[in-house]
Amino acid sequence: MNSHTLAVGYGKVKPVVIGQNSPLVFIGGPCAIESRDHAFYMADQIAKICSKLSMPWIYKSCYDKDCRSAPDSFHGLGIDHGLRILSDIRDEFGVPVVSDFSDPAWADATGEVCDMVQVPAYLCRQTSVLRAAAATKRPIHLKKGQFMSPWNMKNSVRKIEAAGNHQILLADRGTFFGYNMLVNDFTSLPIMARTGYPVCFDATHSIQLPTSMGNISGGQREFIPHLVRAAVACGIQALFMETHNDPPKAMSDANTVLNTKYLEVVLTQAKAIHEVRLQLIQKLGEDTVHLEDQ
């Protein structure tokens, strides 16, 4: 079904493979780059956990949070400072890095440094953003908008393909259910996989309660492990979670980031379930139940 395989990493960074029969890839880090010291501290913490679990991973952190609810919310360190830190993390840890970009004008610089570029969910159908992402020639982490049906993501995929890029990872981060509420419809994962590209589940944004706290978003973090187990069993190639060593002090998404002290236990479960799923596919083949009805 997901016939495309992505190789995320260039230069001295060994590429991380995201594909149908590959090990589950963890994409994570603090939502925003808060400082050089904190970014390095988080990279070190995650590297230790992923090394212990033998789990391939990609460091994610953003230099500019352009969709904050309040004008005085932390916006980020800015593109120059932020990308310098991400570049140094690549060099220090030998890990691929990803950041989103919200303005087409930021795409080139983001793609020059990052091994993967991310399109924010709110911007997933903006043609100028998709074209700019494609032009970086990097693999693209394309998040499904909370307002989008999974089948309509094909339009965004085709915009990227039309611009010459065929390296796409599609992510589900929840779907609006009325106001200030998200739900997860896990049929979105196999539906998006029909595009032929690997799929990712964004657990920490899926438990978000968008702008439920007046001028910031809330979140029900206690459900992260449940959703992770369900998504991995359903079938994903990458798992996305933002994590922070001290969530109440996180400068972005304080109510949704996973406390890093829980990262190992969640990833351990995800890895185990993923491996069982791959074993089942090897034994029984891909899902073909009632495909004739389609």
């Binding site: 089948w151 309509n152 094909k154 339009n155 389609q294």
Partner: protein
């Protein structure tokens, strides 16, 4: 009389590329007022057909939202390797083939399965019927 004498030639009938979505294919069929579209690859080779009947059967069979069906690639819902005829086939044998399979249209391909036309039942029957006597 041959199939080539009465077939609709390109581009006078609905033809879509394999990655065209169902909604666009239906628009093409409506534009030509025909219940069939021929599906081709980049080189023009016939891959399949999509008909009003396929749509009716899908609507009764699938349980997913129409919005989801609309954005599927039409080739995923069409008939691959459909019955076809060649321009040099006799019109009588082609109409007999239509009768045998109870279909209204047959794609016409050359020796290398390149799509070259569409045989529609009405002009075929009209061509085979005796010319009506003049009223004068």
């Amino acid at each position: 009389m041959l199939v080539s004498d009465v077939m609709l030639s390109l581009p006078h009938f609905p033809v879509v590329q394999q990655d065209v979505i169902v909604k666009v294919c239906l628009e093409e069929m409506g534009r030509y007022r025909l219940g069939i579209a021929c599906i081709i690859d980049d080189s023009g080779q016939l891959l399949g057909i999509f008909t009003d009947g396929d749509l009716r059967r899908k609507l009764l069979k699938i349980q997913k939202p129409i919005a989801s069906l609309f954005i599927d690639d039409v080739i995923d819902h069409g008939i691959r390797n459909p019955i076809k005829v060649m321009p040099s086939d006799s019109l009588t044998s082609a109409v007999a083939l239509m009768e045998l399979h109870q279909v209204w249209d047959l794609p016409v391909v050359d020796g290398s399965t390149m799509l070259v036309g569409l045989l529609h039942l009405h002009p075929a029957v009209k061509a085979l019927l005796p010319t009506p006597p003049s009223k004068s």
